[in-house]
């Protein structure tokens, strides 16, 4: 798997070095119209339906790309990333169907808890912690159904990335999911500071994550099983960064779907 944390020689102390866009001057929920409307690209609120759509789109894309993720993992990992994540996200969809979430926070926390319990590989605790932390960050005790602002989402996304960094003791350049997630968090935070619309914000995050995943190809792995390969991990895209890019890209398909619906 990518990003295991079994030794203490690397990464410690680097947890907080990246910021991951979570510490910008963003007031949570202070700006942007709030309400029941779904994302439309104009800085509107992101409601529960959007977050459910995000998880559904992520699950669908992971299912479609399951074999590619597993092939990437076969090159430098233990060849189970696609299978593990597909199983985990299928369980997420089942959990959302069985207990429809009443808020964005509930949707994300349910996804996180399910991934932690059902994946079995390192990606379960890592993605699970990310979604759970995002949910906690959005859990303001507001009335169910209240949409969150793009600024609040950017901040929550950054908090989720920090949770991954802390749990996995990974930093930028270690050839892990952080190399896709941290640029996405920075892009989201920047679009909020620049006052761009939600659609543009999510598109930029998706591009940043995809670029970040591709940038792991020449890197030498410093975490997880791939780190035992040393220089021989060079030339392969990190499977965790690749799945992270898919999950972030699903934000944009979810946005167009919920805006259209």
């Amino acid at each position: 798997m990518m990003n295991a944390a079994s030794d203490d020689a690397m990464g410690t102390g680097a947890d907080d070095a990246m910021g991951a866009g979570a510490d910008g001057p963003m007031g949570s929920g202070a700006d942007g119209p709030m309400g029941a409307e779904t994302v439309a690209g104009g800085g509107g609120g992101l409601d529960t339906a959007f977050f459910v759509a995000w998880l559904e789109e992520a699950a669908g894309e992971i299912a479609r790309q399951r074999d590619r993720l597993t092939e990437l993992d076969a090159a430098i990992g233990d060849a189970d990333h696609g299978t593990n994540l597909d199983r985990g996200f299928s369980e997420v969809l089942r959990a959302l169907r069985e207990t429809p979430p009443a808020s964005p926070a509930q949707a994300l926390m349910a996804a996180g808890a399910t991934l932690i319990r059902r994946v079995g590989g390192a990606s379960g605790p890592l993605y699970g912690s990310a979604f759970r932390q995002m949910g906690k960050a959005l859990d303001s005790g507001e009335a169910p159904g209240t949409a969150v602002t793009p600024a609040a989402f950017a901040e929550a996304f950054g908090a989720g990335v920090v949770a991954v960094e802390r749990l996995g003791k990974a930093a930028a350049g270690d050839k892990t999911m952080i190399d896709a997630l941290a640029p996405a968090a920075r892009a989201l935070a920047q679009t909020v500071r620049d006052g761009l619309g939600t659609g543009e914000a999510l598109a930029r995050a998706a591009r940043a994550a995809a670029d970040g995943a591709r940038a792991t190809v020449p890197m030498t792995a410093r975490r997880g099983r791939a780190s035992y390969l040393g220089e021989r991990s060079v030339g392969h895209e990190d499977p965790g960064a690749a799945s992270s890019a898919l999950i972030v890209a699903a934000l944009t398909t979810a946005a167009s779907r919920t805006a259209a619906g």
Binding site: M1, A4, A5, S6, D8, D78, D80, N84, I116, R117, V119, G120, G121, A122, G124, P125, L126, G128, S129, L167, G168, G224, R225
Partner: protein, 125 residues
Amino acid sequence: MVGVVLVAHSAGLAEETAALARGIAGETVPVTAAGGTEDGGLGTSVDLVERAMRAADQGDGLVLIADLGSSVLTARLVEEPGRVVLADVPFVEGAIAAAVAASADLPLEAVLEAAEEARGFRKLT
């Protein structure tokens, strides 16, 4: 008595290491195993870890020993400061050191310390 919970990628590794630790430390020490996934594959299951934690819990705290990767990440998620702690130590050496320390009825901090001392054990010098 402090409980020792072994978290590993395979059920066989966890169970046999637990048997070894009990054999060396004494059968009274609550050493439990959480190895592999629930369907018997390689990996880690939070449900199995929590079950092993309940089985080893005599109220005096738990020391977790994990092999690597997802076992370490999962163990970190179930840590409770002052009650459930993860030792940063090789798997077999840490399991035996923790079990022996627990058998002497040492408190949680001392069992954790004994386990972590095993990290520096040399075998040839």
